[in-house]
């Protein structure tokens, strides 16, 4: 059995095979694989006795349930109004320069994806970004350089 099929089965065993398990299973696949592949969707459909189209329908609705491959570290910079006012564009330019990718792209070594997100709930401390589940409020170009360097060292 492939790795992703095993993961799906393990999650279905843990959470149960009812429809209410679909979101947590999709979320578990994204945390492990950084996206939901066709293979994963087929495996989920089979375990939960749904059609693959139904699984795709749910997955494709949610911004954080990526259906295209993403990097190990997904950077989401808030682009909504207060973060826009407080300089999110400069933050994005800094990251683009460091990782040599444009907004929406993934590095060729599949380690980083750079995306924008809508309001992250830290507007009093903008600009703010998420790297996976980790929050980085009040970032500046200097701070963001330091943060990305730390991730680069982590591998």
């Amino acid at each position: 059995m492939s790795k992703v099929k095993e993961l799906v089965k393990e999650q279905a065993d843990k959470l149960g095979r009812q429809r209410t398990s679909l979101m947590p299973i999709l979320q578990a696949v994204v945390s492990a694989e950084h996206y939901i592949s066709e293979e994963a969707m087929e495996a989920i459909a089979e375990e939960l006795d749904l059609s693959t189209a139904d699984v795709f329908g749910t997955a494709s609705f949610y911004t954080f349930l990526d259906t295209v491959p993403r990097g190990k570290y997904i950077i989401r910079v808030c682009k909504t109004i207060t973060c826009h006012m407080k300089g999110k564009d400069e933050i994005i330019r800094t990251i683009e320069g460091m990782l040599k990718i444009k907004l929406g792209e993934t590095t060729t070594d599949k380690r980083f994806s750079l995306l924008q997100a809508n309001c992250l709930g830290w507007c009093h401390k903008g600009p703010v970004m998420l790297i996976n589940d980790e929050v980085y409020p009040e970032v500046t170009p200097e701070k963001v350089t330091e943060i990305i360097n730390q991730y680069l060292k982590k591998g």
Binding site: T20, F64, I81, T82, N118, G121, H124, L130, D133
Partner: protein, 385 residues
Amino acid sequence: MEKNIKKVDLIFGKVDYMAIVEQSLKRTRDEIILDVIDSGLRGRGGAGFPTGLKWKFAKNEEADQKYVICNADEGEPGTFKDREILTQVPEKVLAGMALCGYCIGASEGYIYLRGEYNFLLPSLHKHIDEFHKKLKALKFDFTIRICSGSGAYVCGEETALMESMEGKRGEPRNKPPFPTSHGYLGKPTSVNNVETLVFALMIAQEGPEKFKEMGTFDSRGSKVFSVSGDTPTPGIFELELGMTLEQFVEEFGDGDTKAVQVGGASGFCVARKDFKSTLIGFEGIPTGGSMMLFNSSRSMYNILNDYLEFMEEESCGQCTPCRVGCQQLLKGIEAVKKGIKPPSYLEDLQKLSDTMRIASKCGLGQSVPNPFNSIIKNFREEIIY
């Protein structure tokens, strides 16, 4: 001199929350519900439905299972108070859920937590485990679980939220039937905002009088505000309701405030000339907490553009007025700005936004006219030139 805005500490103050639960379990459900109705507490998530009535409707339903849902999806731009409440006083939120569960007759509760707040999960799970133990000691059967969102603003709408919990696309349902009769998995459900649940707990402790004394006739009590934008003091503040926008700006403005967006991207933009006559609350302009200040260095075109982009991206796409309307409003102001369309085109766009208010299925599409019409009305020149 106008009176200063009163700071309040009902939400963030530490209390013996288990004692409140224990005392409440000794009272009848009707007594507590009557207190919540009497207090005048209205939902703090935006729509402002009277909380006690919601609980009463859910209680009156006959069902083998009912649910309590704590809405922690907090996606409205400029709102960040629920995150702070869940960080500082999570026990009070859990106790508020148990209180609601007791009143309506539910033994299961869910927190729908937005995916952006996943970093809160480890600490919330720890608090829930401890809380379960304490409830067991009281022999009260109530279990709390967490459902995570995955980055969709519309899932804050209560019926979309339940669709999402059921493993479906977060598309709002038709109302009626309302969640109090047909909610999660078709069972009677009370969906309450994080802040609302904590206020209900405090009302159970202190009685309705203290809450009722604060605020105004339609907007009782206090409210947690999320203040951001051009302000020297951004942050989270619990304030007595009933203040005018002028008082608010005196406290939080930077001396050069030209407009305040009250209620986030789905709220209203108020210009300086109207600060004095605008009351913050249900008789004036209500807010789920979001207060964004803009000073004269800001372009209102950029601000409107940001709001429309937000709505266009977050529209679930289920109904045509909202799906197409958001796109057309966004394209429309761009065309006017570039001179491709004449300024009078703004009037056509306003008609479109009025149609969206009437014809959209849920609060998202219905509220797009709020920022659109208020910004066009107050800052027409900035949109055109």
